[in-house]
Symmetry: C2
Subunit: 663 residues, 2 copies
Amino acid sequence: MVASDGNKGRDRWCYTLEELVELDKNEEHNRGEWVRNPPELPCPWRQVWDTAKNTYVPSRNNHKPLCFKRLLSLVYHFFPILDSLRCYNASKFKNDLLAGLTLASLTIPQSMGYATMAELNPQYGLYTSIVPPVIFSVLTSSREIVIGPVSVDSVLLSTMIGKLKDPHQDSDAYKQLVFTATFFTGIFQVSFGLFRLGFLVDYFSHAAIVGFMAGAAVIIGLQQMKGLLGITNFTDKTDVISVTKVVWTSVSDHSKWRPSSLILGCSFLAFILITRFLGRKHKKLFWLSTFAPLLSVIVSCLIVLKINGEHQDKVEVLGKIDGSSLNPSSLYQLNFDSKFIGSLAKIGFVIAIISLTEAIAVGRSFAALRGYNLDANKEMVSLGLINIVGSFTSCYVASGSFSRTAVNYSCGSETMVSNIVMALTVLFSLKLLKRWLCNIPTAVLASMILSALPRIIDVKKATHIWKVDKIDFLACAAAFFGILFVSVETGLLTAVIISFAKIMLISIQPGIAIVGRLPGTDEYCDAEQYPMAVNIPGVFIVRVKSACLCFANSNLVKERIVRGVIDDEADVEDPKAQSTFTYVVLDMSSLMNIDTAGIASLEELHISLASHGLRLAIANPRWQVIHKLRIAKFVDKIGERIFLSVGEAVEACLTPKMTAVYA
Amino acid sequence: MVASDGNKGRDRWCYTLEELVELDKNEEHNRGEWVRNPPELPCPWRQVWDTAKNTYVPSRNNHKPLCFKRLLSLVYHFFPILDSLRCYNASKFKNDLLAGLTLASLTIPQSMGYATMAELNPQYGLYTSIVPPVIFSVLTSSREIVIGPVSVDSVLLSTMIGKLKDPHQDSDAYKQLVFTATFFTGIFQVSFGLFRLGFLVDYFSHAAIVGFMAGAAVIIGLQQMKGLLGITNFTDKTDVISVTKVVWTSVSDHSKWRPSSLILGCSFLAFILITRFLGRKHKKLFWLSTFAPLLSVIVSCLIVLKINGEHQDKVEVLGKIDGSSLNPSSLYQLNFDSKFIGSLAKIGFVIAIISLTEAIAVGRSFAALRGYNLDANKEMVSLGLINIVGSFTSCYVASGSFSRTAVNYSCGSETMVSNIVMALTVLFSLKLLKRWLCNIPTAVLASMILSALPRIIDVKKATHIWKVDKIDFLACAAAFFGILFVSVETGLLTAVIISFAKIMLISIQPGIAIVGRLPGTDEYCDAEQYPMAVNIPGVFIVRVKSACLCFANSNLVKERIVRGVIDDEADVEDPKAQSTFTYVVLDMSSLMNIDTAGIASLEELHISLASHGLRLAIANPRWQVIHKLRIAKFVDKIGERIFLSVGEAVEACLTPKMTAVYA
């Protein structure tokens, strides 16, 4: 337990039910004193220190002596795969092998497609599916994540780096910038992890991510029009308007696109979608949807060999895949030119966040399915390391792919060995099938990428967000339209600002709730939420609805309370209302904190109520609040009318003795 | 009461104590249903509309028919002085007359001093003490505020407009800009009031204002060195470094300052401070401190006539006070040149906020002393109107002066008639004593302004803020040093940002509190705040400490809860801890709201706990929260284990039946 530090604390957490009953009987209780004299609040520096310690030293076992066992557990901590290999056996390996081979059949075409989307040669996608997964599988504590190039990062890279250097004019310089951006992405990810900023990925709200991903998917989809239609002159821009314009003008001119590409692409898109549909309907046909991409690639290659043999260049194909079969070193290709370094660092930062958000979301959802927990900070370091090493070995940004992770999980992989199997398979394919791979038609790769997009556009989640929270949906829509019509950064920034503004509004809303007693209970609740709540004659009970009674809302809260109590008295048409109330009980259970302005308002409220013959009582102040009220001497000012709960406050108000004591 | 709309609502607020006891006996209660099925939340647009209506139509009497009585009350509403004159009599007038004359004796030298501080001729200060107070006394519902030029606004005007136009090179153009800025100030103030943005002045936290005022006071004090030392070549800049440098270089050169000015200034400063000290010690000598400024002016004038008669120009005096005795029209002096209009509007905005904050704080503190309430929105309109009219009649920005309001209150003024008396006295003085007034030495005016500064630097309040709230103090210090070393805007902006960041941090802190039962009660409280709290065997009760379980904190909250419960189980050294808990009760009483990410985290928490054989129960969700949990179907997911209070949740957990029902 978190609170049970020290012996004194531990004792009181060990009572049994019988002892509790005894305790209730024996102890003399002065509850008022309990509320008014809480233990000293830890000093602010202490609080900051504790928070830091809690963040950086999550495990409470660190004080144990360093022995062999502890050393071993440290090794397992840093290389979790060793832990999982301890009880590894043939049956587990069979499962991993099967999953790995399945993954490879999916990864090879996908990786090549994503690489072309990032405006790189297809082999770089394959490279990115070799080195990063192997390294990651040694470091991660996840058991499912599949590492490799992902669509969103690919399109972000080509969009943002394309602004610095045109990939079509100087593809080598562009490639260097991509590797450098990958390096920065890795550096940022490792730093986030080391400084335990795991919470950073939480700062992009779910809603913003849903909108962002959908926007990115639309952009990716539009980019695929190039491959699907075989358009010869495509635009470098990514926003909806320019791309739509280019597609429109190309389609209207027959010489600018290839109908055969379209027919080929659409038929394979239909094939993939149908197999997926079948796979979803009949669990037994699951293998069909998994192998559909590989099947498409093989069949389309054969068709292309036939067609292009007859009519040269009828269908656009990937073309030459060059480079050695193993990842070549790209260490000397990193470009730290001062002209680009600032922009590249910025790009690295944005991609680091987006990529981590996706990867950790993927990792967490599957970890939750298997019932284990994923340490975001540790995964950040691992993901960062693979990108740093990747940038040295001709890889671009790698992350956790949702679709492949899902396949991995469905195939029943047991450990990260499946990732290693996949990487080795990709490696051998690259070595052995190079001549075949270059015959894959771009239209088929485009159809494969297109078929993955509906999963990214999460309409169900968006409607869910709309139903649950309208402002969240606003953030979602801002991210979506921002990325679609302006830029990635604009979309994200707007979404973050909306998300935070919403929290701010909720926290400082100057709302008050009239509180009534629920019949047959001692509970006092919001009368609007519980219409069955009834009043206590003579006592006006009100709850502050904000988290912080501060400069921004304290005056309004005060005015609303005064209006609620005193307007009623001033209502001349209802003479009975004149003396309705004698006490005002302020339920502070929602207040986390109060500032000097809040205390000043409470004092004004007290004076204002007193001038109308009303008495103010306070119920259930939190630690921070009662601490500040004591320092500001407000406790003395209201005659110590501070109570443990609304119930006790009301009881005290209804006891005439209290009037006598505090009159 | 706010909640008692409609008949159904009103009924349940009319129970007597006896009826309540009856009700408790009779009714069949299904408390679980009450929590899980709250009434429909008003739709968001409805909420926005209600908030707007609440802001713009504060009075609930608006539906009454329009009759003569209502018309009269409307007239009284807009011209409150008529209301107070209804029962006006000779004795009240005597008090007002006395207060008004006293005020005038204080106002005349102060106004001239502030006008020179604003780099205007002294008569403009006097003008500002004639027209604005008369108009304001007709419009305001305050009974004490004294209107006229104030020090902070004066120094702000000269600082900010001095950047646009040098007052020493082109004093006429500078004057025009001052009038135009005054006009804009008025326009902004009226708009704030009409759009009921009274809360705007609350957005500068107390702490920021304390720091800002202290910084302004230091700047004002430094500016007075010019008059006190009779320095001939002074700087236009206001920041501490430049002014200190000028003062230092001037003092080191004998020809650049006048020792006689210093002696005269210091002796009168000492005189004013001693009389004030005496007046504070002995209540009977109060008149002495009030008349000290007037006395100083008269005596110093006589001295100057003697000295300057012998040695010409030995002591610097105010010099010629020109212009007609009544406020001349300045309507055609307003300068709406497009070159300046943007800057002037910005200056008007800043001064409007600062000036309103000060005036309304002054008004409210004295209103609270007399036990009436001041409508900030109405006062804003009044203050704006006097500045608009003022800008047409050669006045500069007028506001409520704290020192003069305090004198007015102490002299026992009854109504705003004292303001009118003061204005008339100033008018006659200007007409009759013009030749005398020009002999006032600037050193004496400077000493008078200096003597008012210690009151603005509120060290007591600053130490209070330090004691109560360290982050508030940070905002205070930021405002102080910002205005001192950088600029007014920087200081204010930093303070506002710090204030809001603090609220944000409080609202999204991912804290959880372990909750225990207080012996002998049914109350469940934070175990750190109440060290006497004890555990319930098998039940882990935890309270979320933030106002909004959202994307920014939900994951951390989830992780902390899981760590709190499950780490204990994994603690191999304590075998007993293995099966400590069966239930986790999440007390949601602090949560105002939840977003989709928060709900997702709750779901993950539920799954994660379930995988360890633990059950999650929720206690006391607020309306917004339970509403969203229902929409998101979370209520069904956790098997309807949602309870009215922690007590009920614990009771249900301890009843084995629950396990049977929900297993």
